[in-house]
Amino acid sequence: MAGKNTAGIVGFFSDERALLQAAAKVKDAQYLSFDAFSPYPVHGLDQAMGLRRSWLPYVTFGGGLTGVTLGYLLQWWTSSQSWPVNVGGKPFNSVPAWVPVIFELTILFAGVSTVVALILGCRLPNVKKRAFDPAITRDRFAVMIEAPCGGAAPAGGKKFDESEITSFLKSIGAQDVRVVAEEGWF
């Protein structure tokens, strides 16, 4: 069954503490790629898995800066360049009055660019992927050691050996180990 049709091998754990310890051990075992699943965000999981900091905040910051700039330029151009209108005898380019709109556009651009970047970064929407077990959205925690694409072990990676991984997952305390076929998940 190993090879093309195997998405990965998944071990189930009963609580978040066990998941955190398992994730750290899987990281140390240096498999090519693995992922963790939990019904709710678990504090410290990204650290246990050795994940790098997300690049999303930089997108947010860039979106915010864009919003500030565009918010100012929009009002400067419409109110003082394209069609100057005298409002209450104030200067055409009255910056204090622009601030609320600049502020709102900063939030809008920062927020929307973050969501768009998140969706693109996660390659969503993906209708093909399905949860391999509904329990991971309810009360179970899982670690999946993923099979390399195409079944071949790439250079530098550990060989994807089903029985070795199964016994490894059991040895780190998985209550249940399952081979997940691509149809079920990918």
Partner: protein, 403 residues
């Protein structure tokens, strides 16, 4: 591994009290003496300067004294868990409240003798239709009674609240948390209304013709801005002395840093809201406040208030910055000084319209207040454990933040 695991669940022990060295105590007392001396000298030579400086420091430090119990009350109401390890640090600020009561009495004396507020001068009020109309509210007896009542109520609440918290160190029972959670909503309502009133009375009425309904919120936003800065400083100081070891780590500093950042933005939001509505409506009775601060040498400090927002905003924006206690400490010092300057900017133009008027004696008075605050807070921490180690939520919080 097993040992570390069981340790995380072990009962959290009393880390003990802060040891204040004789030298530090002597330094605080010397500062207080310097402050009293400078205030006395100014009072004899330049009463207007004496009272303006006194009022700035009184309001700044009274706000900090009240801020700690405000924080603890919010966290009692919400059943907050993360803050349990630093709750006692906030509660220690209430140690200053007895001194704040004394400085408030001094302000009453200055008010009754007509040395602080324009509306205490009978001849000025009689000649001014607006002030005559306001004299039902702005008169000396009512001013003293309502400020004394509000401060007294907040003071008693704070004492009861902290007493429950200290009792919990012994009983280790959730009953004290529940009692404070029941006490807190009443405190918060009295605080919100009472602190607004004190801001109106003690600061805004310096210019009795001017009014701004958001002024109380503005003063509150400054209070909480400086609270988080002081919280970062105090927590770092105690942690450095090993008193919060194993309880507080960079995750707690991260949380404190987030609040410093959040209330920097909140302060700017409120400050700009006040400014923009007045600027836009352009009504003479409202714009006088800003004209006094823009068309004079006060402009420099008005521009500084932009820095009061922008500097902490960018210095606290990166995640790593908020997790670095030493970086937080530097930003916190700036924030405390900036808040002091903000109150100076609110108070002093009423005494010295031409521009900022500060010399070494003003610095001496400020140092006196710093000494009094440090003396009172370190005294609290040397008499009581620096950690609310009996709080049932504490173990959860320590565990939660240490995974």
């Amino acid at each position: 591994m097993a040992a570390a695991h069981s340790h995380a669940h072990a009962e959290i022990k009393n880390p003990g009290n802060l040891k204040v060295s004789g030298g530090a105590k002597a330094l605080f007392l010397v500062l207080i003496a310097v402050g009293l001396g400078c205030f006395g000298y100014l009072l004899a030579t330049a009463p207007a300067r004496a009272w303006s400086t006194f009022l700035v420091n009184h309001f700044f430090f009274m706000s900090l004294g009240l801020s700690g119990v405000f924080f603890a009350a919010i966290h009692a109401v919400t059943g907050s868990m993360w803050s349990a390890p630093v709750r006692r640090v906030a509660e220690s600020f209430t140690g200053y409240l007895p001194i704040a009561a004394l400085t408030l009495i001094a302000v009453f004396v200055g008010t009754a003798t007509g040395q602080i507020y324009e509306w205490t001068h009978g001849d000025v009020v009689a000649a001014d239709q607006m002030l005559t109309a306001k004299s039902g509210y702005l008169n000396v007896p009512f001013f003293i009674v309502r400020n004394a009542l509000v401060f007294g109520a907040l003071f008693l609440f704070a004492r009861k609240f902290v007493a429950n918290s200290l009792k919990q160190d012994q009983t280790k029972s959730f009953a004290e948390s529940a009692r404070n959670a029941a006490l807190a909503p009443g405190f918060l309502i009295v605080f919100a209304l009472g602190f607004t009133m004190m801001s109106f009375d003690q600061i805004m009425s310096l210019d009795p013709h001017w009014f701004s309904t958001i002024f109380g919120v503005y003063c509150f936003s400054g209070l909480y801005y400086s609270f988080w800065a002081l919280m970062a400083l105090s927590t770092h100081g105690l942690e450095k002395r090993g008193l919060l070891k194993g309880v507080v780590n960079e995750n707690h500093f991260h949380d404190i840093g987030k609040f410093m950042f959040a209330f920097t933005v909140f302060w700017a939001y409120i400050g700009f809201s006040q400014f923009m509505l007045i600027w836009y409506a352009n009504l003479p009775e409202e714009t006088r406040f800003y004209l006094a601060r823009f068309d004079t040498k006060w402009l420099g400090l008005s521009i500084f208030l932009v820095v009061k927002f922008a500097l902490p905003f960018f210095l606290l924006l990166p995640r790593a910055a908020k997790r670095n206690a030493r970086h937080l400490r530097r930003v916190a010092v700036f924030m405390l000084v900036a808040q002091w300057i903000d109150i100076l900017w609110l108070v002093q133009p009423n005494f010295f319209p031409e521009g900022p008027n500060l010399d070494l004696f003003d610095l001496g008075v400020a140092l006196g207040f710093v000494g009094a605050f440090a003396w009172a807070v370190t005294r609290f921490l040397s008499k009581n454990p620096v950690l609310a180690y009996g709080d049932p939520r504490l173990a959860e919080s320590v565990h939660h933040h240490h995974q």
